[in-house]
């Protein structure tokens, strides 16, 4: 094709896209929700404190049994907790420090984790000495930032500082699919709750959130309205949208079906970067942890902050709502 033809087509396509975007932008989420009853009170209290990590807690993941959770820290420790009793059920010392990623397997029998070692490893929790039965799932060319089991115990999706995401087969340690497209370190990923095994979103230091087709490895949608590194990403419970938390002190809601940002959660007084985000079960509340020691609770439909949860003396590094929505665990630098 001639260069002129290409330039012409590029112009036509861009115009067409701009027109379409204009037509679709027929409403505003926050304006449309003005008549909705506001959230008048948020009755969330600290019920349990999980103390045991010596170093900064970098990642956590709930078990599907809604009571156990795994957490990993910068000093290389992996702890498995019973959140009801606050007992530590397992303590594994890893060979690496800065364990930035961890995930509980759907069956509850394994935990996957990794960090500065560039590797994603899996430990069987039912063994006498899980640390001796450790298995390597996959290796990146830079640090492991995040990982999640893909619908079963057999596949793990990883995101790395090498700017790629990879889907691994646990049994063989083979790469099933790799995802290239980010222009910087990947910091976070989340699998779609509605398109199980087919779609996931990743976000990172290139300020973008990419939506991927897991079978083809293609990036099907890209959202880059953040002004700084995106540290955390989480799908809306319905799977139709996702929220991101960034160093630009804002959280943004992106709707996949309309392919655009539909809400921004920020406030003049909120100046510090957001490191962790999660939704309540219905998606009405957005929990966001920031570098200024605060956990802000936002009303998703009104873009208003409805509560500030303290109880943390340090930077909130990760938080997760329990699978059945009964509680929220937030890890600060050395305790939950």
């Amino acid at each position: 094709m001639e260069e002129q033809d290409l330039t012409g087509e590029i112009e036509t396509l861009k115009k067409k896209l701009a027109e379409e975007q204009g037509k679709l932008s027929d409403a505003d989420l926050i304006l449309s929700c003005q008549k909705i009853e506001p959230i008048t009170q948020v009755n969330i209290k600290v019920r349990k404190v999980l103390k045991g990590h010596q170093g900064k807690v970098l990642c956590m993941s709930w078990s599907q049994d809604k009571r156990h959770l795994v957490s990993t820290s910068h000093d290389g420790k992996l702890l498995v907790w019973d959140a009801f009793t606050t007992n530590k059920e397992h303590a594994i010392s890893m060979a690496t420090t800065w364990v930035m990623a961890c995930a509980y397997s759907p069956s509850g029998q394994f935990v996957a984790c990794g960090g500065l070692d560039n590797k994603c490893s899996i430990y069987p929790l039912l063994e006498e000495e899980p640390v001796t039965k450790k298995r390597l799932v996959g290796t990146h060319t830079s640090y492991l930032a995040c990982c999640q089991f893909n619908t079963s115990d057999h596949q793990v999706l990883t995101g790395s500082g090498d700017s790629t995401c990879v889907l691994w087969d646990v049994e063989s340690g083979q790469m099933i699919q790799s995802f290239h497209g980010h222009a910087g370190d990947v910091q976070a990923l989340d699998l779609s709750p509605s398109e199980s095994g087919r779609v996931f979103v990743s976000a990172g230091c290139d300020r973008a959130a990419n939506v991927w087709d897991m079978r083809s490895g293609q990036c099907v949608q890209l959202f880059d309205s953040h002004e700084s590194d995106v540290n955390s990403v989480r799908f809306y419970p319905s799977g139709d949208a996702f929220v991101t938390g960034s160093d630009d002190a804002s959280c943004r809601l992106f709707d996949l079906r309309t392919d655009r940002e539909v809400a921004v959660y920020k406030k003049e007084s909120v100046l510090f970067g957001c490191n962790a985000v999660d939704f309540s079960l219905s998606g009405r509340l957005l929990f966001a942890g920031y570098s200024d020691y605060v956990l802000n609770v936002w009303d998703v439909l009104k873009a208003k902050r409805v509560a500030m949860l303290y109880g943390h003396e340090n930077r909130v590094s990760c938080l997760r709502v329990v699978p059945d929505g009964t509680a929220l665990a937030g890890f600060k630098d050395s305790a939950a």
Binding site: M1, E3, L6, T7, E9, I10, L13, K14, K16, L17, E20, K23, L24, S25, D26, A27, D28, L29, S32, C33, I36, I39, V42, N43, I44, R47, K48, K66, R67, A83, F84, Q218, V220, Q221, Y236, P237, S238, D240, A241, D255, R257, T258, D259, R260, V262, S280, L281, S282, G283, R284, L285, V300, L301, V321, G325, T326, A327, L328
Partner: protein, 66 residues
């Protein structure tokens, strides 16, 4: 020549974007509201628990050793 391959990539990318089926924002808002309404009852962090004992994280009644 590099410019042409760059442009070809851009055309591919734009074609893909143009082919994406998008819904109007109003429809998405409607569906999101329906979802929130439907799930509201089960969302303990929003509507709370009917009884204290429904909360699995609530401390059970204390007992002291005499």
């Amino acid at each position: 020549m590099a410019a042409i391959s760059q442009q070809k990539k851009m055309v591919e990318q734009l074609r893909q974007e143009a082919a994406l089926e998008r819904k109007p924002v109003s429809e998405c808002v409607r569906e999101m509201l329906q979802f929130v309404e439907k799930e509201k009852e089960g969302d303990c962090l929003v509507t709370g628990f009917a009884a204290k004992k429904d909360n699995p994280f609530q401390e059970s009644g204390g007992c002291s050793l005499l």
